[in-house]
Symmetry: D2
């Protein structure tokens, strides 16, 4: 049998469970060896369901175990950067859920420590591993589209999160659009230099009272001269709307949503096809598995991870600029370098 | 036989020919009675081709003819407002190609004279009469989409105009995007209050030297609270790309391009369908006929024209704001009232 | 002005009106000069609506008029062959609605007389002039698909005709499938040699009582070795369903239905697009104009008509074979030569 | 942890490997416990790859093991029925690859033994578990389509099998169309009573020399009065073409192919989308997992399997009738009861 990467999952919440399940059943070269969660019963339950013996409420025990090669950091956002740093110092390869941190200094410290330790680092921008967006990325990279002129991203959630979550989320740009900021970098093959954002509150006035917006449009300028637009809504009643388009000097490519099946029904009422898959767990199911596999392979083969720590920093910088632009009524704001 | 509207076409260039041909053959309630063009041979040729006896190099002869009920002003842009005013004073109903003028005072004078004379006035925003955009408009108007949250317009020409034209065009916002500014008003059912535009020159550096941009993205704020985005390019190598999307609280509607046919070819090379119809003459062929018919019917039945003089003013105001925003690097600019 | 073909329309029913209207307004090189109908008021009404002075209840007056170049035979089916013969003898070019006749001897007599007189003859197989099917035909003819292996036609009406009509129609194969038999010849570029048909009565039992079927599937063998299938229904509740597919050694091409527009609506109920255009008048509107123009041009330029008298005979021969096969429970029947 | 079904895979060829891999990694309630293959090294290799200790060249050892609850029979076709009988007598639940046998008496013996033993029996008609066909089936079952009038199946392989395989395959109807015969039963919810088939050799003359056809069309009559058509080719150069359509009194539903992604590329050359997934391993990957899961659940919960032994018999009966019809030039042949 081929060599396997021994991994531990830190954080047994929704996304931790997702990764743990996949690592156990869908990632051939991974061996799930430990589960940690500050709330021990959660760690225990997940571990038992998956037949894992090592569970703990203290992630430091995981980091101290010399058998563990890599950790998946799926704990609460505020713990991402400190655990990243400790894990790097412990010599573990790190897969960290997005965002690394809201604080730029802390993200930069993570970058430093990771570099110093020489460990692998991957940020959980799962959408890059969607089969549709990957194809768009390749069309750009291969030159099929010529020079990139316009990048467009439509990204709408099927339902707004609870107000309690909105209040601690850091706002729509850091919480939701951050995926789209990563996507435009991935698709354009270039860095975002300047953004301008209009935001408003049309879905739920409570979101506005919490100081956030729920609907926004954003313009971007890229280093390679291209322009971009993003539109976001916290609530698309027909489901998770995730489409992109890249337009260039030699053509254009669009990526449509995924649906439960490819049937079309014709009746006297009309012609009906399927709605988009409901939300990210349905839509990006395979993308999660792909990102896990690529991380594991990068660790085993000592190659670069597909989304490094630098890729974790950039979208945060863009989000900060977008937030400022939106708060100032749409004036263009340059992205920090 | 039913009563017919006697019409004259002023200007026998490309768009004048188009209207004259349609009025002769496709608009049942119109009777094409005269053709005028400053270059008399052009007027003569068109008139003879269509079997029309009355042709002249002097549009004033047309205006002086009491038999003529209405005029189609298809002459050069700088003559639109003065001829409009003269025609109104002569008591003729007026169909005027866009834009009425680049000068706001002149447009307002046209509005005044038209009001004073009590004649019908229609501006040639032909895209409103496209079957796809009409359906989107109706979905908004009927409430199917609930409150409008986001309006999106993609509008790309298949090839850039000659530089000589670019130089006198007034710039992309006044010349090309003006159709899209009309479209977002038509689709949203609301007025644009503020715009922000990023523009750049990626298609042809000569366009930049002429002081214009060829690629742009624009954000809009509407009076009803909705947001909008437009993206433009002077050159889409695959043809005329004209798509819109309206997203609201109850759903979303998209309108796709028109193609020469609905076939799909499957070979070992791939799966191929048809490119969009090449340019506006192909794409909006039926839309031109529809706008002509609706104008003629409004005149005969004494009802409102579907696109009035006010609708001719607003897109110019938005274009002026967009141009200013773009020149100032994207700062938001309020649209004049 | 260019030379025009002077045409008369014989028969002022639904299809006669359609041709007359088009000839008057949409066929540039035709001059509609006369209308005839056995019921004179019908001829008169249509003529007056179109501003035609010559109307009559006696088509022989039309044939006797040396000014008339060509006739459109749109009278009842039983008169198609006798009027064709008289018109040929009178030296008129002939456009004849399908079918030429149900009686093979009479069709053959028409072929003889047309040949003898040296006049143009075109049968009204309008579907060949649909932009989609034309494209499929061209893909076969150009060799894009390689050798043809399988030809498929789906052809379903939106609603069954009245029982009174069914009783005199000659049965579904002669009345409805005849268009599909023409289509498979057009698409395959080959003759049908043998057919096998299953038919049944599922839409309306009254159709069965009238000795006809309303639902059928048909297999075909072509002279070039290809196979074919057709499926028919008298009632598709979602509208006129007219699709074809040709599969060959190098690929496959499909032609989809036409719709009122290209919009898609997404709501919490589902994703909805437009139903097919309701029936043949909507779907084949442009096809009728195309066939009229091509006939008129063939007459003026003395070239072959696109659908000759032989093309009028073949589908009748296939229909006769299909009817026999169906009545005998599906045994294969060879098509007469 | 929940109870698991202990399963053994008999036959370590392509399809045996597929099932073994899925049972090991994708079927939560299954525990893969043994692999058998007449060629022991094949059994050993597969077992070791999957970390299974029990492997053997003698399937009787598997049947004799009281720990084993169920077997997947993936050995050569001629062994399906004898091993099925032995497994039933040994009290094992049975998943058997299609076909059970080419010999009707042997199939009937299997049915008897399974009934006597009271074990579960499922035949590997994997396509029923495809998400698209399942949706079509449900639309029929729920009454959405009303009464079924026409069932259509297009089924074309991307490339013909080797001639050596063709010679022992039993012919296209038993080898390839058998899946479509199952599909029409599944979709129509009714039994096939009569078939008529035209077959020919257009892909490879060697197939004809081997006494088989490579291209065919088939008409069907169902017990519920509906009609059906199937078209098959051994070679579609653009990939595995697997589409179905059911037309009924209240509407129609179509199921399209699956593709690698949902992108569309627009260039000056045309508009390109993705080809269908290449062949059954790609297209029916998830369908295999679904059928395995449903079998395992039926065994654990003592419910009916979704595709029983009777469902294994019927398509063979239809295939025999189709073969006879084809050999006799297309005369209709009744399906044995």
């Amino acid at each position: 049998m081929t060599k396997k990467l021994k991994v531990a999952v830190i954080g047994a919440g929704r996304i931790g469970k997702l990764h743990a399940n996949n690592l156990k059943t869908r990632v051939p070269c991974a061996e799930l060896a430990a589960i940690s969660d500050v709330y021990e019963p959660a760690a225990k339950e997940l571990a038992e369901n998956l037949g894992i013996k090592f569970f703990t409420s203290d992630y430091r025990k995981v980091l101290a175990d010399p058998e563990i090669d890599a950790v998946f950091i799926c704990s609460s956002t505020d713990t991402h950067s400190p655990i990243s740093i400790e894990a790097a110092r412990a010599g573990k390869h790190i897969f960290c859920e997005k965002p690394i941190d809201h604080d730029l200094d802390k993200i930069r410290e993570v970058l430093n420590e990771v570099k110093k330790a020489g460990v692998k680092y991957q940020v959980g921008f799962n959408r890059r591993f969607d089969r549709n967006f990957k194809r768009v990325h390749e069309a750009v990279k291969s030159g099929t589209l010529g020079d990139v002129h316009i990048v467009k991203v439509t990204s709408r959630d099927p339902e707004a999160p609870p107000i309690s979550y909105v209040k601690v989320s850091g706002g729509i740009f850091v919480d939701m659009t951050i995926h789209d900021f990563d996507m435009v970098r991935y698709l354009s093959g270039s860095e975002v230099e300047e953004v301008s954002a209009f935001g408003t509150c049309l879905v739920n006035p409570e979101i506005g009272k919490a100081g956030d917006v729920d609907t926004c449009v954003i313009m971007l300028k890229f280093a390679n001269g291209a322009l971009g637009v993003i539109d976001n809504s916290r609530q698309a009643v027909y489901g998770y709307d995730q489409r992109v388009e890249v337009f260039g000097s030699k053509g254009c490519i669009t990526a449509d949503n995924e649906t439960p099946n490819n049937t079309t029904l014709y009746t006297s009422d009309g012609v009906m096809s399927e709605k988009p898959l409901w939300f990210f767990l349905e839509r990006y199911n395979d993308a999660y598995i792909n990102e896990e596999c690529e991380f594991v392979e990068a660790c085993l083969n000592d190659t670069d991870t597909p989304v490094g720590a630098f890729d974790g920093l950039q979208p945060v910088l863009i989000a900060i600029a977008a937030k400022e632009s939106c708060e100032k009524g749409g004036i263009p704001v340059k992205v920090m370098k």
